[in-house]
């Protein structure tokens, strides 16, 4: 069944041996060539997929395209997707530091990963850091290593996703030439790290590229529009060497076919699930619920897990819909 909320970790106790095996098996089956797009990327039954990263990742939860495509493609499998993106984050954990230091933010991410026990993690860092240019590269790579070590501790397979290209939207927005040179520098270095570590690597800079005057991918050069996210989902699929989808969910496509309308309903359910999950893992007022003023509202921490059944409910809905859509689209597993 589809709807297990991930935070109910007790469900998965005792499953670690099986999981490790499953992960090993996957690596064998996928014939991953490190630092390159993997061949035949697959999500196995029961996988838990986490997205970790910066603004790119955080905002993806409102688009849901990538998750929708994966859900349809692997419609017969019970999969769980959790978005742990945080705007402005770095491999140090800056955006997660709250009242503390980046190290506290880094630890918080490690804690969330430990609770989630993901089997696959998409790691999307490098945008914020790339503004530091060449002089920031070596400390970035050092810290990237620490981040990857910490994530790898979960036993999950890691897939590294590069930042996108800084799209040239013309004046008055900044000319991205220099930033793109730096991005390339960072991405090439990341690619080497992935190769050394044997992780899959998706070069979004290359795969997505830039939009044209009629349809831009971003609205400020570095952050995707809904259309950009649709194209990014397709690019990610290409990066994972997945076959082309016949489903066109582009927000620019019109009119909507019945299958697209159905898929859009699925996507809406996925986004609603993600909204519940956001309120679950990043509740507002956390200073009062968990932090140094918890003596005031800490009792309300007990309410937060009540988001779990709501997530489960949505996942049951998603499970039904993804199969319906898959039937119409054809293919998938």
């Amino acid at each position: 069944m589809a709807g297990a909320a991930m935070s109910r970790t007790s469900r998965y106790k005792g499953g670690s041996v099986k999981r490790t095996f499953a992960v090993l098996l996957m690596f064998v089956c996928l014939g991953l060539s490190a630092g390159e797009p993997p061949k035949n990327f697959e999500l196995a039954e029961g996988e838990r997929v986490a997205f970790v990263g910066n603004t790119f990742t955080e905002r993806d939860q409102y688009s849901g395209y990538f998750e929708t495509l994966l859900s349809i493609r692997f419609h017969s499998r019970n999969l769980i997707f959790r978005n742990l993106g945080w705007s402005g984050d770095t491999v140090w954990g800056h955006a997660r530091s709250g009242f503390g230091t980046p190290q506290d933010g880094f630890n918080l991410l490690s804690k969330h990963i430990a609770e989630l026990k993901p089997t696959t993690i998409f790691v999307c860092y490098g945008m914020s850091e790339s503004f530091e240019g060449e002089s920031g590269l070596s400390s970035y790579l050092q810290q990237l290593d620490k981040m990857l070590d910490a994530l790898a501790k979960s036993g999950a397979r890691l897939v590294m996703v590069s930042p996108i290209k800084h799209e040239n939207l013309g004046a008055p927005l900044p000319n991205p030439a220099e930033h793109n040179t730096n991005l390339r520098l960072y991405i090439d270095a990341m690619k080497k790290v992935a190769a050394t570590r044997g992780y899959a690597f998706v070069d979004m800079f290359e795969l997505l590229g830039e939009g044209d005057a009629k349809a831009r991918f971003t609205d400020n050069g570095i952050h995707l529009t809904p259309y950009g996210y649709w194209k990014a989902a397709l690019a990610l699929e290409r990066g994972l060497a997945l076959s082309t989808t016949s489903l066109d969910l582009s927000p620019l496509a019109f009119p909507k076919t019945p299958v697209v309308e159905l898929a859009e309903k699925l996507r809406a359910a996925i986004n609603a699930k993600n909204e519940h999950y956001f309120n679950r893992w990043r509740p507002q007022n956390d200073t009062y619920i968990y932090g140094f003023r918890k003596h005031e509202q800490g009792k309300n921490a007990a309410l937060i897990p009540n988001f779990d059944p709501l997530i489960t409910e949505k996942e049951i809905e998603i499970a039904k819909m993804r199969t319906d859509v898959a039937k119409l689209v054809g293919g998938g597993k």
């Binding site: 910066n54 603004t55 955080e58 905002r59 409102y62 945080w86 705007s87 402005g88 984050d89 770095t90 800056h94 955006a95 530091s97 709250g98 009242f99 945008m127 914020s128 503004f131 800084h166 008055p172 927005l173 900044p174 991205p176 930033h179 609205d219 400020n220 050069g221 570095i222 952050h223 529009t225 909204e275 519940h276 309120n279 990043r282 509740p283 507002q284 007022n285 956390d286 200073t287 009062y288 932090g291 140094f292 003023r293 003596h295 005031e296 509202q297 009792k299 309300n300 309410l303 937060i304 009540n306 988001f307 709501l310």
Partner: protein
């Protein structure tokens, strides 16, 4: 612990008043009642917890159309109509809401209720609202005409019943009074999910807008009318007017927290008043599905909305009035606290979008220019077209107000800080920014907290209101006005009579904007509960359905015809920039921003050409510059002209333009250098802020020229800030002698004092060491600076000067300076250190103390004998002997242990305590054994607090003391109580010590607890028996010692929060809780930190500043303790620094009085916050310890006051009323005449003639800076230069005056600006 006050609560409740028999004939009477429901209960004292059978009979003249019953009872009820059970409830804060139309009949009816109580105060509250078929409306409210019986008679709740033992009920409180404060009366039964614009909240008797409006007291000549109210809108948070004159409002019913299962469905509403009758007739839901939106600004074809973690742009592309596209513009704003999340969106006049965040928010925003981060309060500046994002200024707890005046200057208000209006300087840091730094305070220290602000302009308002600032004192239910005037490079701001005030507990003005018609509009959040820290997120008393927009207009003055901007020809649009209304000019530029620049630019150029070259059109040229900025076109020629135009405020505005265009101007630095020499101080201020953008020797040389002209506090701050920000670029040049500031000594001196570089400090040392020209100005700060950064030879010199100095005041400063270098940086002087011994015998205690402490820190073994002699000399004062004991502890070693042990074993209790305290530093175990012996004896009034603290502040110290106290077995009860209190106040709460003390002292150490019932009872009694006048005396008294840590309106300690409006903002139970359980709810910014140092000390305090090298804590004595980070072994966050057990010494009556007093603070009445310029913070001369000739003639006393720095002064504060009672002063008697000298300080920001008024001039002498000033007819005046000025007053007791009151009065024609210094 002694909480006997609570234990008797049940027996004392209700007294034994017998019910008087009431005649049944008053029974049918409630129909005409215009008053509101009362809480009612029986008079009978017996059987407190037995049910009451309550009935009200009434006639109805026709059949019933509708009937609604709202009822509640503390603790429970069963409700009946004509014998039919209609509902029951057990939660008093959630009244039942029942449709009872089916049970009522034409003719006789009876409403019955069984009221139940389970302890504490009981009460029943009800209202029945009936509409008859004939259209008449009838309200029946609970009051004393209702009857009760303790017996359940058969058919008691039927109309046919008569007889029984029924008596009249007693009205115990108004519906909205304490202890229930059920302000949301009538709403609680409303559906849980309100939808703005759709679902109406049920009508409550007290909650209709007209009732609220009737309660407003409005400023003379003004009136308030309703623009919009529920159900048209609910819970307005923030608003702005659009180009068409429609009001956009963000509304949140979810605030403060989304509940699982509740969908985020907060809204953006557009309120429209098409027929311009001052009342909105429609509310269009522009967007929904939002999560606690807290800010809105209209532009770029839609609206920017602050929505939790993001700022989004919503657009209606198909013209149906509903947003259909949603774009995330910026994301990554923190949500650590929903009353802090990104808010207060507004356009600047130059086309940038500004928004604010509050203190707990940590934001990390990726932009195409890099990632911008801000942790703490502050204001962002954002350019939507380029995505440039930067911080305008940092600080303020909750900067919930930000407006810019017609010259582009920014002002802000703080919803949790107490500085009133803030003048915002770009790049400055305001109070409460985490980590501190140099802080620019606001303009009105000691003010209540404000939400929202607006600057007034336009033809509808009278002349004397132009340029005023409106702010909302949301806690005290009032809207205030400040008059703003020029004050040097900044402004001063003066509180004027209130705009609106009311007793309604739900009136919560939180936003204010000028409307297109020139009237003032106020958003009323309408809620009895405002915060979320102290009251549960989901507390039922939170209103989630109501909200109002009020219009304040001037009676008899015509409104302004709303301008037509959208679609107007370009030329007309530019002409609108002449409008006196800020709204019109601002929105005209927004319309311009959305037109095609290619069309706008030529018309704009023409328009600029058409302007008069004279000064009268300078303002318009600034508007034109802003148009160019809005269009993002640099117009250097026009800028150059405006930078040097005749109108000074316009030159300042243009300087800001130059700063923002700096990267696109060829010669920005040169332009700013010229501005730095301007005649108008604000232009110089702006220039300094701009020059910091060009870090270099050239820019600092240009900036420091501002010291050639008068330097006020704003310019001084700006220059010091610039020095900090840019010194990396020129300090090396200064140190190696390349940067010489053209040999200008004044320039050099300012820089040297600010940079604190060890290399350049030599110049200051040389100045200090110049025997021919002794340094007289800033002596203390120069010594301090050398102590902080001087190297070995500098400290050697400092010591050499110290031992040669003959003026006692200067000697002490020098000795302390040397000690600071030794203690904080381990820089020890070399040379003949023994010379310090000579000062041990100094006549002045403060010199001897400083010398002894220094000798200890220097570990001068060869003066050990003298130190020990002082320690044992009964003739010396306690302070000197304690210093000697501390010095011995510093010396350490077996010899010190031996001496201290001996002293702890013999002598008077006070000296023994002090010796044991010192010994604890050397050998905690041995000291504990000695201490236990002293503590077991009668201390004869000696205070053991320092001893307990001594042990608590040592690692393992308190454990050792606990062991020894347990061994010794018994100590006096009072000593044990003091010890327990000290231990509980310590952040290092040691339960073993507390238990040992409790056992030995035979007292209870159990933490106190107040049950719900006890609280209700206490609260009821506070209202009926508490006396605020007595309460103020207790507040000021020694037993409660509140003033030591808290201030009211700036007067008092700064360890805890200012209590100026605590009564108006906090519910009674919160006040009581905070006093008994300080850790339950700690005010933001007042959490303490516990630091353990590597040498085993434990320090507790509030972190006031921390940088890479040092951490500064403000401890419970308000002393600021700086700790080198390298010496810290661990630190952790802790709770409140306020000790538990402070209420112990108070009787129950005193508690009632004290809480009553606090509960009145800030409410309308004698304890309301007064902004009047009255001296509230005084120091009185300690005549007991410093026998000086204070009776001498004024000349002599004046010299004494000016030249005797060793005089001891004790803090004393005026009453909330502003009067300083003679009873609180120390008087000295000479030849039968009793006199006292009190001192206060004045901060003069603009120099000139300043006039003071006193309440009684008889036998009064006044000195200002030591110069005697004559007093005539209760007034005196003097010309003063800017800076801190000291006033001394000699008052004589025995005359008519029983109190002293000193206030500033305005002098017509004088430019002078001054305010009394506040603080501890």
């Amino acid at each position: 612990m002694n909480y006997s006050g609570f234990e008797c609560r049940v027996s004392s409740f209700g007294g034994v008043m017998r019910a008087s028999l009431c005649v049944l004939s008053v029974l049918v009477c409630a129909f005409a009642s215009a008053g509101d429901s009362k809480w009612i209960w029986s008079q009978a004292g017996e059987s407190d917890n037995a049910p009451r059978y309550i009935r009200a009979a009434f006639d109805l003249a026709d059949d019933v159309a509708t009937a609604k019953l709202i009822i509640t009872c503390d603790n429970g009820y069963d409700a009946f109509v004509n014998g039919k059970a209609v509902g029951k409830g057990t939660e008093w804060s959630a009244p039942g809401n029942y449709d009872v139309a089916a049970h009522l009949v034409k003719g006789k009816n009876v409403l019955g209720a069984i009221g139940k109580n389970s302890g504490g105060q009981a009460g029943l509250l009800a209202e029945l609202a009936v509409t008859l078929k004939n259209g008449s409306k009838i309200r029946l409210v609970s009051d004393k005409s209702w009857l009760f019986s303790l017996k359940q008679d058969k058919d008691w709740n039927l109309a046919s019943f008569s007889g029984g033992d029924y008596k009249a009920c007693v009205e115990t409180a108004d519906w909205n009074a304490e202890p229930w404060n059920l302000t949301a009366w009538g709403t609680s039964a409303a559906a849980a999910t309100p939808t703005a614009g759709a679902q109406a909240a049920p009508a409550g008797p007290a909650n209709d807008p007209e009732t609220e409006r009737q309660g407003f007291q409005v400023a003379d000549g003004f009136e308030v009318t309703l623009f919009a109210a529920d159900p048209l809108l609910a819970k307005p948070v923030h608003m702005n007017w659009d180009n068409q004159g429609r009001l956009w409002v963000v509304s949140s019913s979810i605030y403060p927290q989304i509940r699982p299962g509740e969908m985020a469905n907060d809204k953006v509403l557009i309120l429209e008043d098409k027929d311009r009758d001052g009342k909105a007739e429609s509310a269009q839901v522009f967007a929904d599905g939002l999560l606690i939106p807290t800010g809105i600004e209209i532009g770029d074809g839609g609206a920017y909305v602050a929505n939790s973690t993001e700022i989004i742009h919503l657009k209606d592309t198909n013209g149906d009035g509903k947003a259909d596209t949603r774009r995330t513009v910026l994301s990554g704003f923190g949500t650590e606290d929903t009353h802090h999340i990104v808010h207060s969106l507004r356009w600047g006049p130059e086309g940038n979008l500004y928004f604010n965040q509050s203190i707990y928010i940590h934001s990390h925003i990726e932009t195409p220019h890099g990632t911008k981060r801000l942790g703490g309060g502050g204001i962002w500046r954002f350019r939507p077209s380029t995505y440039e994002l930067e911080v305008l200024c940092k600080g303020m707890c909750n900067p919930w107000g930000h407006q810019m005046d017609r010259f582009g200057q920014s002002f802000g208000t703080d919803g949790a800080g107490g500085d009133g209006i803030h003048y915002l300087i770009p790049g400055a840091t305001y109070p409460h920014f985490p980590g501190g730094g140099k802080v620019m305070p606001g303009l009105n220290p000691g003010s209540p907290k404000y939400c929202g602000m607006e600057i007034l302009s336009g033809r509808h308002l009278p002349d004397d209101w132009q340029g005023s600032i409106i702010a909302n004192d949301f806690r005290a239910h009032r809207v205030v006005r400040y008059q703003i005037s020029e004050d040097g490079s900044g402004y001063s701001s003066k509180l004027m009579p209130d705009v609106i005030k009311t007793k309604s507990q739900a009136f919560r003005p939180i936003d204010v904007k000028m409307g297109p018609d020139g009237a003032i509009y106020i958003a009323d959040w309408y809620n009895p509960i405002i915060n979320h820290g102290e009251v549960d997120f989901f507390d039922k008393r939170r209103d989630r359905t109501r909200g109002r927009i009020w219009r304040v207009s001037a009676k008899g003055r015509p409104l302004v015809a709303a301008p037509t901007l959208v679609g107007a020809p370009l030329k007309d649009l530019l002409e609108q920039l002449r409008a006196p209304e800020d709204y019109t000019r601002q929105r005209a530029k927004r319309v311009l921003a959305e037109r095609d620049p290619k069309e706008v630019l030529p018309v704009l150029a023409e328009w600029v050409k058409s302007l008069s070259p004279e000064a009268k059109d300078d303002q318009l040229r600034l508007e034109a510059l802003w148009c160019y900025q809005t269009l993002d076109v640099v117009e250097a020629d026009l800028l150059k002209k405006v930078l040097r135009c005749e109108t000074p405020q316009v030159r300042a505005g243009a300087t800001r333009v130059a700063i923002l265009w700096r990267q696109r101007l060829p010669n920005a630095l040169e332009l700013l250098a010229v501005q730095a020499g301007d005649d108008f101080p604000r232009v110089r201020l702006e220039a300094v802020r701009g020059l910091k953008e060009f870090p270099s020797a050239k820019s600092i040389e240009a900036a420091v020229r501002v010291v050639d002209k008068p330097v006020d506090r704003f310019i001084k701050y700006a220059l010091e800030l610039m020095i900090d920000e840019t010194k990396g670029s020129w300090l090396a040049g200064l140190e190696n002698g390349e940067l010489l500031f053209g040999g200008n000594a004044k320039h050099m001196e300012f820089i040297l004092k600010a940079v604190k570089s060890p290399k350049v400090i030599k110049t200051l040392v040389a100045q200090l060491n110049n025997p021919n020209k002794p340094l007289t100005e800033n002596f203390d700060s120069v010594v301090d600076l050398i102590a902080e950064v001087g190297d070995q030879s500098d400290i050697d010199t400092l010591f050499k000067i110290a031992v040669a100095e003959r003026l006692p005041g200067r000697t002490a400063v020098l000795l302390k300076g040397v000690h600071k270098a030794v203690a904080q940086r381990k820089v020890k002087p070399t040379g003949t250190l023994k010379q310090v011994e000579a000062y041990f015998k100094a006549r002045e205690d403060y010199v001897a103390t400083s010398a002894l402490i220094l000798a200890g820190a220097l570990k001068l073994e060869d003066v050990r004998g003298s130190i020990a002699a002082v320690a044992q000399d009964e003739a010396r004062t306690a302070a000197v002997r304690t210093a000697a004991l501390e010095a011995l502890a510093d010396l350490g070693g077996p010899a010190s242990v031996e001496t201290l042990k001996g002293l702890a074993g013999n002598g008077k209790p006070a000296s023994r305590l002090a010796a044991a305290t010192a010994l604890a530093r050397l050998d905690a175990k041995l000291a504990a054994a000695q201490a236990a012996q002293v503590l077991a004896a009668d201390l004869g009034g000696a205070d053991p607090t320092a001893l307990f603290n001594g042990f608590l502040q040592r690692n393992n110290g308190s454990e050792a003391l606990a062991v020894e106290i347990t061994k010794s077995g018994k100590i006096p009860t009072d000593t044990a109580k003091l010890g327990i209190r000290t231990a509980q106040a310590s952040a290092q709460v040691d339960s073993a010590l507390i238990q040992a003390l409790a056992k030995a002292g035979g007292v209870s150490a159990d933490p106190p607890d107040i049950t719900k019932e006890e609280m209700a009872k206490l609260i009821a009694e506070i209202g009926t028996q508490g006396d605020p006048v007595r309460g103020e005396a207790i507040y000021r008294g020694k037993n409660a010692s509140c003033q030591k840590c808290h201030s009211i309106g700036g007067a008092g300690g700064n360890v805890g929060p200012d209590l100026v409006s605590i009564g108006a903002s906090a519910p009674l139970d919160y006040i009581v809780d905070s006093m008994y359980f300080p850790n339950k709810a700690v005010k933001e910014g007042y959490n303490s930190v516990v630091v353990t140092t590597k040498d085993g000390r434990i320090l507790t305090g509030i972190k006031v500043q921390a940088d890479a090298a040092t951490t500064t804590l403000r401890d419970a004595n308000a002393d600021e303790v700086m700790i080198q980070n390298a010496t810290i072994s661990k630190q952790r966050n802790s709770g409140s620094i306020m000790p538990a057990g402070l209420m112990d010494p108070l009787t129950r009556q005193e508690v009632l009085d004290l809480v009553r007093f606090l509960s009145e603070l800030g409410k309308q009445g004698p304890y309301a916050a007064s902004g009047a310029p009255i001296a509230r913070r005084w120091m009185m001369l300690d005549v007991a310890t410093d026998k000086i000739a204070i009776h001498a003639d004024p000349k002599e006393v004046g010299d004494l006051l000016k030249n005797a720095p060793g005089l001891k002064w004790l803090p004393v504060y005026s009453h909330v009323s502003g009067n300083l009672p003679h009873g609180d002063l120390a008087f000295d008697t000479n030849q039968g005449k009793k006199v006292s000298i009190v001192r206060t300080q004045l901060d003069v920001s603009t120099g000139g003639l300043i006039r003071f008024k006193v309440n009684n001039a008889k036998d009064l002498n006044v000195w200002i800076e030591g110069i005697s000033v004559p007093v005539k007819a209760e007034q005196f005046e003097i010309e003063l230069n800017p800076g801190a000025r000291t006033l001394d007053l000699r008052v004589t007791n025995g005359g008519d005056a029983k109190e002293l009151r000193l206030e500033l009065v305005e002098v017509p024609g004088s430019r002078a600006k001054a305010q009394f210094v506040t603080g501890k």
